[in-house]
Symmetry: C2
Subunit: 273 residues, 2 copies
């Protein structure tokens, strides 16, 4: 399975420019990287990250009928790939308008699926509603593989990847806008403890926003880990970059490592109280 992830620097608030740049990366993957079976872009990649209020986030938010889903759906169709990308989602629930920090999962012939970020980071709490989809896995449209999605700060909670692992994920993708490097300590453990591939497309660059001119600097270093926690590919810390790895989803499914131990069957949930 051809896994491709894109480290990307969006222009804040300029969707059309970002679509153009995202498409250029996709085109390059098609021509220079032998295409993709799974293609993943960072969190909030069409708008930039550092919203200042719920109103501002809603201003850029779209439902699944909007141009953002349409853009990635067309890309998925053209590339015959399952595409995951972060965007600001708008939803009306019980008569109330919500902005979610979401990831769309689109593949040819499949309904779009939306994962809404479970754990919100810092001022995201002022801009987005807590995700309410929970963690789930999506089958690939063409290959025998299941993909689970979490977003950025979800990494901090082993329960996120664990839930996806127990639901049968072979590959966990984590579109991110990370601003530290400590996640590199935990992410390989997420792969190892669940015996799954883990791919983290992070963004690079920085954004200065708000009246106080607060700057957030994104740390890049996007990475793909194998299911033993080993690093398979890693990006630098400043530029846009494409990471390209061949993975074998079926190899993740036997969770035993000797005739008497299996890392999922050995769990004892009744002792985790």
């Amino acid at each position: 399975m051809k896994l491709r992830i894109v480290q990307f620097t969006p222009v804040f608030g300029n969707k059309q420019e970002n679509f153009k740049r995202l498409q250029a990366h996709a085109d390059r993957i098609a021509t220079e990287f032998d295409g993709a079976d799974v293609l993943v872009f960072p969190e909030l990649c069409t708008t930039g990250y550092f919203f200042q209020s719920n109103d501002e986030a809603l201003n850029y938010a779209e439902t699944t009928d909007g141009e953002t889903v349409a853009f990635f759906r067309a890309m998925a169709h053209t590339m015959d790939a399952l595409v995951v990308a972060g965007f600001v989602e708008r939803a009306i629930e019980n008569g109330e308008e919500h902005a979610y920090n979401s990831a769309l999962i689109v593949a040819p012939g499949q309904e779009v699926r939306i994962y809404r970020k479970t754990h919100l980071f810092y001022k995201e709490r002022h801009c987005f509603s807590d995700g309410n989809t929970g963690f789930f896995v999506v089958p690939h449209h063409r290959l025998d593989a299941k993909i689970g999605v979490m977003i950025c700060y979800d990494w901090r909670f082993p329960e996120s990847a664990r839930t996806l692992g127990l639901k049968g994920a072979d590959l966990i993708v984590c579109p991110s806008n990370l601003i530290t490097n400590v996640w590199h300590i935990a992410m390989p453990a997420r792969a190892l403890e669940n015996k799954v591939y883990v791919a983290v497309p992070n963004r690079a660059g920085e954004e200065t926003r708000g009246l106080e001119g607060e700057t957030v600097k994104f740390t890049g270093r996007s990475v793909i880990y194998g299911f033993q926690g080993q690093e398979l590919a890693k990006a630098g810390d400043t530029d846009d970059e494409i990471l390209s790895v061949e993975i074998d989803p079926a190899a993740t499914r036997d969770k035993s490592f000797n005739p008497l131990n299996d890392i999922f069957r050995d769990r004892r949930p009744e002792m985790y109280q």
Copy 2:
């Protein structure tokens, strides 16, 4: 708080010799390492590891009234330290005799506490009963600190350390007989994701046992991690060694890292189904 852990090579089946060598390490800690507040020895440190049957394990097993608990209780008293050590425990439950792969926790003026290994590794399944104590924390007898215990293969399950963290552990100790090095991928994550110190006294050396002469080689590299997952001290891979670190248990308790995020309060257990 003076944390000392001992990488140790026992002689299989020779408790008296092992007591002598363990005492020599304790004496060295008293004289050369400024003593200890918490002192931790590896899993099954008084007997060796590679039992071949439940009968053989029971042959070395002791209740908490036995000489092993008495030995470590005297050590704890002399050093005014909380001592944790792995041993083969014998218990009669519902009229049945059990051998457990256990750790004793003794401190001056406190009842002995016993943790029974939750997740059994490989042929331990033929020798020991599944631990039934669950994970719990023990207060230090003299200092403001709570210590949680897990044993060796428990590392593979993020739920082990998570349960101890949520119960208020400042320091998780993990007496071990590890035979790989992959645990070095996960252990720093255990520290980081729970903001706790983690100390792993492993053993060194090897044991060849049984009719087929199966050999297990222990990998040493005992380690102490700070609560950001950073390595504070690490042993070599072959010899007995004492690791000595000053830690600040109170520094682990504020789980927030900005005004809007706290790694324990941000958890959403209803989403981990």
